[in-house]
Amino acid sequence: MRKYFEKLAQIDRRIIYLILFLTVLLPYLFKISLPMKPLPEVVQAYKEIDQLPPGSVVMISIDYDAASMPEVQPMLYAILRHCFSKNLKVVMLGHWPLGIPLGVTALNEVAKEYHKKYGVDYVFLGFRPGLAAVIINMGKEIRSVFAEDYWGTPLDSLPMMRNVHTYDDIAVIVGLEAGSVGDAWVQYAQARYNAKIILGGTAVVAPDWYPYLQSHQIVGLIGGLRGAADYENLVHHKALAYYGMTPQAAVHILIVIFIILGNLGYIALRRRK
């Protein structure tokens, strides 16, 4: 028995890697999907967007890149589908330059799906360096930061932007985050200009936003693949995140078992000493 535990403690890391890989792969191959009830903080975000009157402007900020794409990109798709299906208008920009193309790819794709017209239903502003300065100056006049959109068209030539000047003209800002940009949205746009903010992002940064949620500095929180899956569920368009939750669940169980087994081996060895 003890020998067995000692062997267990010295198992090659590559075997662990293989087990992990198979645990992710198998649920996909057998197409298992499991039901979930959406988390209240995601429902709150969903409701905030859902109750907006048609024609309201939603600003979406791409503050992540390919390193966190599997978690955050599904959120973007789900939120875009929600906005376009409710006839809301979308202004997109971003603070993480390497992720900007992910944003524009999703925007073009979903807009096409819903037959939306550029400049009338959605606009892509692009990126400017200087995070805090960008957020503050947009609160005074968006044109002072983005005189023209991403394609070089002056903002006043775009019908939907004619009456959009500051955060007062934007119903809600959705920050999709993989780092600390979300804090900047809250600490500048919300604190100075009273903008309404929903944060969605990787599971690494999401726990840090619960204090903002409780203090009502944000009006919704979508965290990690689970959050994305919940949102997909709410907009009735189950996709990558939702089906990803089965391997996710399998691996979480595996990791808990790993922790217990690792400790078992450790206890066995320590007791012998």
């Binding site: 599997p70 500048y188 919300q190 990787t202 726990p207």
Partner: protein, 214 residues
């Protein structure tokens, strides 16, 4: 056809990086160096398309009078930053860096004060008793409020280093560590969740986009 070719390129690069899990090897090294090299170039492309072109060149063309000529100041500061690349006069770049540091410091004070401290402290003043339709529900909500307030306060005490953690302060900071460990555990659980999701994304790419199994 092009799509198929590029999907194979992507699959090759994905597997090249995964090969590191077996052991360090030339394929991994190759992929890693390509990643570093191309991401460095990205910044230059972005600098042109999202900064120099719209904010300096287009702005210079579109504006007149003071608004036009005042652009010379940030242009000079930007050139100063680049002087860092030229050793003998690299010190001039400090002027521009001093400007960015001053900006960051000034903005940081207001953000922390107005954007964090005031609203967060305000939100910690919670009712001691939450009235509700039944007693047990009220009790539950109220106890949560107490835990939240006590947890916040004892955590702050844990990070108070100006006095030795003995006596009352010691007890408070020991209570603080309980909350901190629960929070770190939760963050750790969420971090696991995030990392696994990234792997799920890559596995899905391999079996869906590349191999078309699912």
């Amino acid at each position: 056809m092009a799509q198929v070719f590029w999907t194979w390129v992507a699959a090759f690069l994905t597997l090249a990086i995964f090969s590191f899990l077996y052991k360090d090897n030339p394929f991994y090294k190759f992929a890693e160096h390509i990643y570093v090299g191309s991401s460095a170039a990205f910044w230059l492309v972005y600098l042109w398309y999202f900064d120099i072109k719209p904010k300096l060149i287009d702005a210079w063309r579109m504006n007149t009078g003071l608004e036009k000529y005042i652009l010379i100041i940030p242009a000079i500061l930007s050139v100063f930053i680049l002087l860092r690349f030229i050793r003998p006069i690299a010190w001039i770049s400090r002027w521009a860096i001093a400007f960015t540091v001053g900006m960051a410091a000034g903005l940081g004070i207001t953000a922390n004060l107005q954007g964090f401290l005031v609203p967060q402290i305000q939100a910690t003043f919670l009712p001691v008793w939450v009235p509700s339709h039944n007693f047990w529900h009220s009790l539950g909500l109220s106890v949560n409020n107490w835990i939240l307030v006590i947890g916040t306060v004892v955590t702050i005490f844990y990070f108070y280093f100006s006095k030795e953690h003995k006596g009352t302060l010691g007890a408070l900071s020991r209570a603080g560590i309980v909350f901190i460990m629960i929070a770190f555990g939760a963050s750790f659980g969420y971090t696991v969740m995030a990392r696994i999701s990234l792997l799920i994304g890559r596995v899905y790419f391999l079996i869906h986009n590349w191999l078309h199994i699912v």
